[in-house]
């Protein structure tokens, strides 16, 4: 992408009209059925998250001592937990909280990582060297252990999960941004922007960064899956959201506490929800990556 931008004829090419770009996008999607499946899952999840109050049959936090730990039935499709809460409603509301956490974590790591990578590549020299060695150290930790350490340091809560999950992904973004920024920095449009008197900040953030964002966004789709898994893991071991929250990992923990009683429905359905959500983002991300990488088509 950055390579074609450097070719002179690219500067004359007009951007095709929206209808044309839409048709192109649709054609690319049709050639990639797994990406379509991923897209459908992701869209469905987002809709469920947005309309959770309308879709959920019960109030997820309504305790009903009459129906404690009931197996799935026509009244409660996914059964009830040990407080008589409806598991289906909890799973539906969980989509809201889990997607929110994953989105926040991905955006946070994307912004921080992109800025670090862009500045590092643009500045070069000693700055670049020090930044990249710092990223090496951050990546030397086994992922989940590092997340546990951070969550331990700041104490449980939604913010903790977001921060712990995002710090893990900052080095990845920084490296990716750096690798696309290095060739872009030497491109003609960068030279043009500098020669008309653009400041470093202006050249970097107005001209270079926007041209390097496509691989970053594609990578984010894959990061989404990781973020959901890691956030759920942290909540499962009690370092994430509070145990009563409508969050998938916390719900599985609730099921684990009752494991020997054989109440499989409390943990099975939230686990399936995680698996389907992560699957959706992975399929979509893989598909997008295939579309971007001409070698893989």
């Amino acid at each position: 992408m950055s390579a074609t931008a450097a070719q002179p004829e690219a500067t004359y090419a007009l951007r095709p009209p929206f209808s044309e770009r839409w048709r192109q996008g649709m054609r690319a999607l049709r050639a990639n059925p797994t990406a379509v499946v991923g897209l459908v899952i992701v869209v469905a999840l987002v809709l469920i998250a947005i309309f959770a109050p309308v879709i959920a049959p019960y109030d997820p936090q309504k305790l009903d001592m009459e129906v404690v730990s009931q197996p799935p039935s026509s009244a409660h499709w996914f059964g009830t937990d040990q407080f008589g809460r409806d598991v289906l409603s909890l799973v539906i509301w969980g989509a809201r909280l889990d997607l929110f956490i994953a989105l926040s974590a991905v955006i946070l790591s994307m912004v921080v990582g992109t800025v670090i990578g862009a500045v590092s590549a643009y500045a070069g020299g000693m700055t670049d060297e020090i930044t990249m060695r710092t990223m090496d150290i951050l990546q030397a930790f086994p992922r989940f252990i590092f997340a546990m350490g951070i969550a331990f340091a700041i104490g449980p809560g939604i913010g903790t999960v977001v921060i712990a999950t995002s710090v893990l992904n900052i080095p990845g973004y920084a490296r990716l941004m750096r690798s696309v920024m290095l060739p872009a920095r030497k491109s003609q449009y960068a030279a043009a922007a500098t020669s008309v008197g653009g400041s470093h900040t202006n050249v970097l953030f107005r001209h270079l960064v926007p041209n390097c964002l496509v691989p970053i966004f594609v990578n984010s789709t894959l990061q989404f899956g990781w973020a959901i898994l890691e956030a759920a893991g942290l909540s499962f071991i009690g370092l994430g959201v509070e145990s009563s929250a409508a969050e998938w990992g916390a719900l599985i923990q609730l099921g684990f506490q009752d494991f020997n009683a054989g109440h499989w429905w409390i943990y099975t359905f939230p686990g399936l929800a995680i698996a389907v959500a992560v699957l959706g983002f992975n399929l979509l991300g893989d598909g997008l990556q295939d579309m971007l990488d001409p070698r893989r088509q």
Partner: protein
């Protein structure tokens, strides 16, 4: 000789990385709100006693000085005393290491043995049913949370079928561990010639190993398939085929040898992921290894133990990467060292 120089140079590069990770591990446990000593001392300890204990743990000194003391102690092999087990952290970690090592080794071994042939076959027979099975495993393994897979397997094979032991740890409570040689119960039992203990130790390993292997298999199979496809589509494979070399030889000798190198690097990453996943698996199977130890340490704000575990896990991870890099350098003539 050149290899030795390469290893030494790599080790030298690792010094700042290890120091940096020690610093971060140290920092993480210092910014925790609340004072661990007050918790350890209990609500009835006098103020003087708390101050005294703080001084003993060097917690009354400025943080930079605390860090220097900590690094100095580390260099002397002292990781501090655990607040919860009242034992040196180094000793605690050493005792629990074999349990985790046994689990991870079996799991990664199983994952490699299953995933690499699966990846190769699905690349050679693209679109066949084996290819589809491999893809389903690859996708399922990376999508489902590891602790949930563990619970589902446990509920089926222990809860429903009763074929395998439940969340009991390494052996049934009534059995005593075999005489200590390696600390790995299966191997120690074999060495002691004790088939009953061996069988029970193996049975206890099956489900945790299977969970970890399933999750580790997914990326390995996927990567093997991708690199094999690239290799099979390459010019040198076409040349070899056109020279009339049998398909089997082309696949195994020409394509596989080239395809396996990126997979090796990936395996290092997978082991790192397994070290993290260990925590969750050990929690579910009550497996008395490093993961469960670190979980308990975190839950009881046991600073030295948490610190010690993070540093150990990180050093192991770095070491694995180093080993893989050395193997890659030995296998791949293109790598300059």
């Amino acid at each position: 000789m050149r290899m030795l120089r390469y290893i030494l140079r790599r080790l030298l590069f690792l010094v700042p990385v290890v120091l940096g990770s020690i610093f971060i591990a140290f920092l993480l446990t210092r910014v925790v709100p609340g004072n661990p000593i007050e918790r350890v001392a209990g609500p009835y300890a006098s103020e003087e006693r708390v101050l005294e204990m703080k001084a003993e743990a060097n917690l009354d000194k400025p943080i930079p000085q605390q860090f220097l003391i900590y690094v100095n102690d580390l260099l002397h092999g002292d990781m501090g005393m655990s607040y919860t087990t009242a034992q040196p952290v180094g000793k605690d970690l050493k005792e629990r290491f074999p349990a985790s090592f046994e689990l991870v080794m079996f799991a990664i071994g199983l994952a490699i043995v299953l995933a690499i042939p699966l990846g190769v076959v699905s690349a050679v027979k693209r679109g066949s049913w084996i290819d589809h099975v491999a893809r389903v495993i690859a996708v399922a393994g990376v999508s489902a949370p590891i602790f949930w897979i563990a619970m589902v397997l446990l509920s089926i094979f222990y809860g429903k079928l009763g074929w395998l032991p439940g969340s009991q740890g390494r052996l049934p409570i009534i059995m005593s561990p075999p005489p200590h040689v390696t600390g790995m119960y299966t191997i120690d039992a074999l060495l002691a010639g004790d088939p009953v203990t061996f069988k029970e130790a193996l049975r206890a390993l099956i489900l945790p190993v299977l969970t970890l292997a399933l999750v580790s298999m997914a990326p390995i199979a996927r990567m093997t398939r991708a690199t094999m496809i690239d290799a099979l589509d390459s010019d040198y494979v076409r040349t070899a085929t056109s020279l009339g070399i049998p398909r089997r030889t082309v696949v195994m000798k020409h394509a596989f040898k080239n395809a396996i190198i990126p997979v090796l690097t990936l395996i290092a990453g997978v082991i790192g992921y397994a070290i993290g996943g260990e925590v969750l698996i050990e929690l579910i199977f009550s497996w008395p290894g490093l993961g469960l130890y670190s979980y308990n340490a975190i839950m009881s704000a046991d600073f030295p133990a948490v610190q010690g575990f993070i540093i150990l896990a990180t050093c192991l991870y770095i070491l694995i990467y180093l080993i893989v890099d050395v193997i890659t350098a030995l296998l791949d003539p293109r790598v300059e060292y």
